[in-house]
């Protein structure tokens, strides 16, 4: 009965998206830290994981969503920005950083609202 509470597809999808956003933040942090490292290739969420996540969220199967594992992979589409083969572009990384921060706020609020509503439904009290 307890596990049925937390097996709603929306909730599981929000949690998994939050995992993905946090992992992406680590990738962007690594990219910016290695801005001047010779030969560094920028990393991002693996495209395979992104498509799987979108498909699973559209499918609405909580088990399937929960079984996904977020993964990072080198960005194959990035071009070398300098002669030493470094593919990090600072402006685009800062843009990704800001966008990811907003995505984190969104996913956190989603999860938080769902938990808060559960508590409200169970106890009838709002805090």
């Amino acid at each position: 009965m307890i596990s049925a509470l937390f097996n709603q597809p929306d909730y599981v999808a929000a949690k998994k998206s939050l995992d993905a956003v946090v992992l992406r933040q680590e990738a962007i942090a690594s990219n910016i830290a290695n801005l001047e490292t010779p030969g560094y290739k920028r990393i991002d969420l693996a495209p395979a994981f992104r498509t799987e996540l979108e498909r699973a969220c559209a499918g609405g199967n909580a088990q399937q969503i929960a079984s996904l594992k977020p993964a990072l992979a080198p960005d194959a589409a990035a071009v070398a920005q300098s002669r030493d083969g470094n593919t990090v572009n600072l402006e685009s990384e800062m843009m990704q950083l800001n966008q990811n921060a907003v995505a984190n706020t969104l996913e956190t609020q989603l999860v938080s609202t769902m938990l808060y509503r559960l508590k409200l439904a169970i106890t009838g009290k709002s805090s």
Binding site: I2, S3, F6, T108, K119, I122
Partner: protein
């Protein structure tokens, strides 16, 4: 799944012969051999759906307690790992803690409602 349905096979175990025996003027019918009196603690010879629900209700409560305990364990482990400096993510720890809280609150509310309904039944005039 109310306790009443759990009690109904017991009520039906009383059977009509005994009631007939209590009406004035009727000759008391002896207990025919083979008919055992109502025994609330024993299941009747045929398994009625009401009795099955009674068993599964208790098991459902037990299952809920086990699940809440499992959630608390997960949360405690996550917090311990975070404080120990291992590589767990903060948001997963917080979510585990909140889920354990919600589960526990649900169990407390179920217990409260059970207690209320038990007291209400005890107050019922039979």
């Amino acid at each position: 799944m109310s306790p009443l349905s759990a009690m109904s096979p017991v009520l039906s175990g009383y059977g009509l012969p005994q009631l007939d025996a209590m009406t004035p003027g009727a000759t008391p019918l002896p207990l025919t051999p083979g008919v055992t009196g109502p025994s609330p603690l024993q299941a009747p010879s045929e398994v009625t759906p009401g009795q099955e629900t009674g068993d599964s209700f208790a098991s459902m409560l037990g299952q809920m307690v086990a699940e809440v305990n499992a959630k608390q364990n997960v949360a405690t482990q996550a917090v311990g790992a975070l404080q120990g400096g291992q590589n767990v993510s903060l948001h997963q720890t917080v979510i585990a803690m909140e889920e354990a809280n919600v589960s526990f609150q649900l169990m407390v509310e179920v217990r409260n409602k059970l207690l209320e309904s038990y007291q209400e039944i005890m107050r019922m005039q039979l």
